[in-house]
């Protein structure tokens, strides 16, 4: 309020404050809506493009409403073994999610509820991984995978992602907040640690587990570089790698076909995200504010 001239009357001052608050809100709405439109628009436009007639798709003037030419989808579906890619992606993603949830749950449980020598050091060791860019270990990781004889297999796409660091943090954080009396009571009832985890702790951690599962699911389904490196045949290729091959091959001169492929390969992950978006976004918030 320091910009206000002192001579203004109290009502004038109040009105000024009211008005500036409202103009501020209007500007905030404008920016938010503009940003949201910019974020969503490419996704909308690709769906429109996937449904344009051949003539309109090749037009220099942009079209913003679909022609509902569904045959683009049928045409693209014929070109590449998408079904095989989808099955591969589903299998890889499901295995990765199950394994990563189990390993992160066990490790998070140990870090969160048990005292043992080396706990701090081991946890710092995990923390340090954030600072190692996966890109920097690409070449030796590839070497190790090929030494294991895993090139062009499912396990090469699953095992390296069978731990979720952020999931481990999230679950550790959750178990730290669990009252110790719970474990003491369970101990009196003759519960072992594993029984306690299975019967009490894990069921209580269900929301956190859902977040971990979601994060791993989306990460695994969207993964590109690693599957691109370690798969060479259609039998093991996931959808994203198939899409990239299509983009740089047949799809290169077929904008509406390319748009159709981009749309139907993205649909599963977008649907799952929309169903569980609240947990997902809140999981990210929780992870960030507690680290």
């Amino acid at each position: 309020m320091s910009v206000l001239p002192q001579s203004l009357s109290e009502t004038g001052r109040r009105r000024f404050r009211w008005r500036s608050k409202h103009t501020q809100l209007v500007f905030r709405y404008i920016f938010v809506v503009f940003a949201a439109l910019l974020a969503i628009f490419p996704l909308y436009w690709v769906v429109v493009l996937s449904l344009l007639s051949d003539h309109n798709a090749a037009d220099v003037v942009p079209h913003f409403l679909p022609d509902w030419q569904w045959s683009n989808y049928a045409r693209v579906w014929q070109l590449v073994p998408w079904l095989q890619y989808f099955l591969n992606s589903i299998f890889v993603t499901c295995c990765t999610v199950v394994l990563a949830v189990v390993t992160s749950l066990l490790a998070g449980y140990a870090f969160g509820t048990m005292k043992f020598p080396g706990r701090q050091v081991l946890f710092l060791l995990v923390l340090g991984l954030i600072m190692i860019p996966g890109e920097a270990t690409l070449i030796p990781s590839y070497l190790i995978t090929s030494l294991l004889g895993w090139i062009d297999t499912y396990q090469a796409q699953i095992i390296p992602f069978a731990v979720s660091i952020s999931g481990m943090f999230l679950l550790r954080q959750f178990f730290l907040s669990l009252p110790p009396s719970l474990w003491e009571a369970a101990q009196l009832d003759g519960c072992t640690r594993l029984e306690f985890l299975w019967l009490v702790a894990a069921p209580l951690a269900r929301p956190a587990l859902a977040v971990v599962a979601l994060q791993v699911f989306i990460g695994s389904w969207n993964a590109f570089l690693w599957p691109y490196l370690v798969t060479s045949s259609d039998a093991f290729r996931p959808v994203e790698v198939g899409l990239q091959a299509f983009v740089s091959g047949e799809g290169g001169n077929d904008p509406s076909g390319l748009a159709a492929a981009a749309t139907f390969t993205t649909l599963p992950v977008l649907v799952i995200f929309l169903i569980a978006q609240r947990q997902f976004i809140e999981g990210i918030s929780a992870g960030a504010s507690k680290d």
């Binding site: 490419p42 992160s104 140990a110 070497l143 899409l243």
Partner: protein, 316 residues
């Protein structure tokens, strides 16, 4: 009588023994729980991080069979004298210096706009977050279509306004900038969500108190919200800086392994990838680039973490 005492002693010894054993067992058990995670991390995170240093000392190639010749620091020497490496470093630094502040400012600004008083906040947040969740390959395919010189949407719009078209990915002056547009679009929502959670943790009573003391909106932002938000800002800064240093998948998908015309978008990541996985791979050299990238990211992360430690709680 004697027998009883003896029995007692035995049983008590047994007890302490079993107790000790159970402590040891429960300690061992903790490691058992950690084992699966650490086996995976050991093979696919720790071992590669150590082995990459070793590889960088060899003239390694995935294609050659048998022993790989040891060459000492030759790979590093090669990089020191190579134009391509310095160019890649320059491109990476340029990308970091432009994209990180842009990302940070936009994300913070949007989060502040979204913070309070806006209706359907969850909807706007979801919309802004959506690109982050959409797969990389699909989104780069969409943006390639939008950036296209002839049929692209962006040039179509410029055409509508009778402006000169831009060869977004083909013109060396624009290539890296176009990639920055894409990556900002893709990842902004993530940081907005993190900022929003940080803002949500700041008690509204603090800004209310400042308002009562006569502070205006800018003063509240500058002297109340901003210092309290500092820890979260540093988290976002750290994550986005690490991300920016290692960026190369978007560049690879938008401009190909060469990084566009004249390699203007060939970052360190893309350079190590093209050295390591080409038809004539120089994996030792690729490993040396990896080591340098790793050291760069590590140094900057540690520096920023040090900053976090010092500035974590400016008010208390």
């Amino acid at each position: 009588m004697k027998q009883d005492v003896a029995m007692d002693m035995i049983s008590s010894r047994e007890k302490t023994h079993s107790r000790k054993w159970s402590i040891r067992f429960s300690t061992g058990q903790a490691y058992l729980y950690l084992l699966p995670a650490f086996v995976v991390l050991g093979i696919f995170s720790y071992a590669p991080s150590i082995f990459v240093f070793y590889m960088s000392l060899f003239n390694w190639s995935f294609l050659s069979q048998g022993a790989q010749p040891f060459v000492g620091l030759t790979n590093y020497d090669y990089l020191w004298h190579s134009v391509a490496f310095w160019q890649a470093l320059r491109v990476t630094l340029l990308y970091v210096v432009v994209s990180v502040p842009l990302h940070l400012v936009l994300a913070l600004f949007l989060a502040l706009c979204l913070m309070s008083g806006i209706r359907a906040k969850a909807f706007w947040r979801l919309a802004i977050f959506a690109p982050f969740i959409t797969p990389l390959v699909a989104t780069t395919a969409i943006w390639s279509l939008m950036f296209d010189n002839y049929h692209g949407l962006l040039n179509g719009m410029l055409h509508l306004f009778h402006l000169r078209s831009i060869d977004w990915l083909g013109d060396p002056h624009w290539t890296l900038f176009s990639i920055i547009i894409y990556t900002t679009w893709k990842s902004l929502g993530f940081s907005v969500v993190i900022f929003l959670s940080g803002l949500g943790n700041i008690s509204p009573s603090l800004s209310e108190a400042a308002r009562i003391d006569g502070a205006n909106a800018w003063q509240i932002l500058r002297y109340v919200t901003w210092p309290l938000l500092m820890p979260i800002t540093l988290v976002v800064l750290l994550l986005s800086t690490i991300d920016a240093f290692k960026m190369f998948q978007p560049a690879f998908l938008l401009t190909g392994p060469a990084g566009g015309p004249g390699n203007v978008a060939r970052t360190l990541g893309l350079y190590l990838f093209s050295e390591g996985f080409s038809n004539n791979p120089h994996d030792g050299r690729g490993a040396a680039i990896s080591v340098l990238l790793f050291l760069l990211v590590f140094t900057i992360s540690v520096a920023q973490l040090g900053l976090t430690q010092r500035r974590a709680n400016p008010l208390y």
